[in-house]
Structures are given as structure tokens and as C-alpha cells.
């Protein structure tokens, strides 16, 4: 990077950082929890960090602990990971425009498009004097580092946090709640927010906590496509 590029990157970094603070809190706590859990199952930081850095898919990594402690079933791991992560299919559709023309960094942005990063990049726009490409890169990069770093801490130190962190991971729920409000404030978006809540609640009640994602996504897709004409008016 030449010096003007480096400058643009640093300015984007300082503009992006405040948006990621809730993720910092949530990912450190959950990352540490993940590192500790892996350690308890006999997997040292080299493995937990490798998983976090390569797979980078929070909730699925917790599911994968079970896979790592039973028998070797790579195909099952792949299918399960696809199903648990299926909601990501919808994130890309919303980012086609925003990530347009980002060239070499685009694969990294797509690779690391997790729930938390999506919630931020789909809700906030970069300040006018900040290069959008670097702004989005910094949000993705920071969130990614928090997760990997949290995992490393948990794997190295175990559970050594001196205060009671129970409930600190609620920061991520709070992040989604706040960004939900930010989203539904715009125009008629409240209808769409309501559709998301209703479809998810219905799937949760009918299919239970462990199987709610796929039915919810299907319901959302059907509702949006069937109601498109009405919703657009």
C-alpha cells in the first residue's frame, strides 16, 4: 500500500471501529467461551483458532464441537454446516450492489459475511469522506479479528476473566434489536421487519429451537415473492 492508500485505510478504520464495538464485546466473550469449550474437549488453541480462522461461522462452530468429539464424518459436517448457515444465502442478495466493483478484496468480504457483519454493513453507510471499499473492509476485518482473537484467548488462558460475564453476549442480541429499529424506521420497512419476526416466530413455535432456520427462510421467501405486488405499492 502506498502512503495515500494507507492514509485512506486508516481513516476508514477509525470510522468503522465504533460500529463494531458491540461485536467486539460479544465476539470476545463468545470466542473465549468457544476456545475454553474446545480446550475442555481436548482441542488446544492451535485447533480452535484454526477452526475460527478458516470456518468463521460462530454458531456452527459450537455445533461442530460435537462432530469433533464423535466419529469422523466430513460429509455430515459439510451438510450440517450448510443447513445451519443457510441464512447467509440471503445476505449476499442484499450486498450485491454495495460490494459492487470492490475487486480483489471482495472474496474476503464475502468469505467473512457473518450475521453481525451483515447487520452492520446492511444498516450503515460510510461517511461521505471515507472510501466505501475500505470502510466495509475494515468492518469485516475487525469482526473477523475479534472472533479469532477471542478464540485464541480462551484457548490459551481458559476461563480467567475476573468478573462475572454471564449475559455479556446479550450485546449481540442488543445489536440486532437496535439495527432492527434502525432498519424499520426507514419508509415502509416496518412491514418487512414484521414479516421477518412473524415468519421466524412461527417456525420457532412449529419446528422448535433447533430446526427453525430453514422453515423460517422458506416462509420468508414465499411471503415476499407471493406478496411482492402488494408490498411494492
Amino acid at each position: 500500500m502506498d502512503s495515500s492508500n494507507k492514509n485512506r485505510f486508516l481513516r476508514a478504520l477509525s470510522a468503522a471501529f465504533p460500529h463494531t464495538i458491540p461485536v467486539l464485546a460479544g465476539f470476545l466473550v463468545l470466542g473465549i467461551a468457544y476456545g475454553v469449550l474446545m480446550l475442555e474437549k481436548g482441542y488446544g488453541p492451535q485447533w480452535s483458532v484454526l477452526m475460527s480462522a478458516v470456518a468463521f461461522c460462530g454458531s456452527m462452530q459450537f455445533v461442530a464441537i460435537t462432530l469433533l468429539t464423535t466419529a469422523f464424518h466430513p460429509l455430515e459436517a459439510l451438510l450440517l454446516s450448510f443447513l445451519v448457515n443457510a441464512r447467509h444465502l440471503f445476505y449476499g442478495l442484499s450486498m450485491l450492489q454495495k460490494y459492487k466493483g470492490f475487486g480483489k478484496i471482495k472474496p474476503f468480504l464475502i468469505y467473512t459475511l457473518c450475521d453481525e457483519t451483515f447487520s452492520i454493513v446492511s444498516s450503515v453507510n460510510p461517511p461521505e469522506d471515507i472510501d466505501p471499499k475500505y470502510f466495509y473492509l475494515c468492518i469485516s476485518l475487525l469482526d473477523y479479528c475479534y472472533w479469532v482473537f477471542g478464540t485464541l484467548l480462551g484457548g490459551l488462558l481458559g476461563n480467567l476473566i475476573p468478573f462475572n460475564t454471564q449475559g455479556l453476549d446479550f450485546a449481540l442480541t442488543a445489536l440486532f434489536v437496535v439495527l432492527f429499529i434502525e432498519q424499520v424506521k426507514k419508509g415502509k420497512n416496518w412491514i418487512f421487519g414484521l414479516i421477518g419476526i412473524a415468519c421466524a416466530l412461527l417456525s420457532r413455535v412449529v419446528f422448535g429451537a433447533d430446526n427453525m432456520v430453514m422453515p423460517a427462510l422458506a416462509l420468508i421467501l414465499i411471503t415476499l415473492i407471493a406478496g411482492r405486488k402488494k408490498l411494492c405499492n
Partner: protein, 112 residues
């Protein structure tokens, strides 16, 4: 630890591949040079609020209404976050106060 190092690496790669298979398809199916079909543009424009609603419910999926404390800490904290956010419009303030309240509630008020 029951798997061999090679098996662990393949399991990690399998999990990663599953995640990649959910993140890349939209960008591969609708590349930059081509105008995506109207339905795709429509979905892309309305999905952020829809998915934010889904994520909120998803975060709360393991909360039980029947068992004590009946989802009260979550309900109170979310209502508080909504109020403070509509009032002050400050993302970090809302999340910080909401999380602090939730921690206080489950550790001190509803804790065992």
C-alpha cells in the same frame, strides 16, 4: 480429542466449505456485469429488515416462556433498548445500557 490431526483438518475444511457454500452463491449467480432479475433486486432491497427481525428471534430461540423466569429478563431488556434507542438515537448507548441491564437482571434479580 478423538480424531487424528488429518481428520480434524478435514472436518474443519468441511465446516468451512459448508459456510462458503452459503455465502458465495448470490455473488456467483448474479455477477457484477449482469443486471440481476427484478425479483432478486427486490429481495435484496427488502431483506435487511426481514433478516434483522429473524436474527432477533433467532437469538431468543432458546428462551422458554413456560419455565422461570419466563423470558422476562429478555423482554424487559429489549423493551428498555427500544425505548432508550428511540429516545437518544445512539446505537452504542442503547446496546451498552441494554446489555448492562440484562446482565444485572440475570445475575442479581432472576439469578439463582
Amino acid at each position: 480429542m478423538q480424531l487424528t490431526p488429518v481428520e480434524i483438518i478435514f472436518t474443519i475444511l468441511a465446516v468451512a466449505l459448508g459456510a462458503i457454500a452459503t455465502r458465495f452463491p448470490p455473488f456467483v449467480l448474479f455477477p457484477e456485469g449482469k443486471q440481476p432479475p427484478q425479483i432478486v433486486s427486490f429481495l435484496g432491497s427488502v431483506l435487511p429488515p426481514v433478516m434483522m427481525g429473524l436474527l432477533v428471534v433467532y437469538c431468543l430461540k432458546s428462551v422458554s416462556i413456560q419455565a422461570s423466569p419466563h423470558g422476562l429478563p429478555e423482554l424487559i431488556s429489549i423493551a428498555f433498548i427500544a425505548l432508550i434507542h428511540i429516545w437518544r438515537k445512539n446505537v452504542l448507548l442503547s446496546i451498552g445500557c441494554g446489555t448492562a441491564l440484562y446482565m444485572f437482571l440475570i445475575q442479581k434479580v432472576f439469578g439463582v
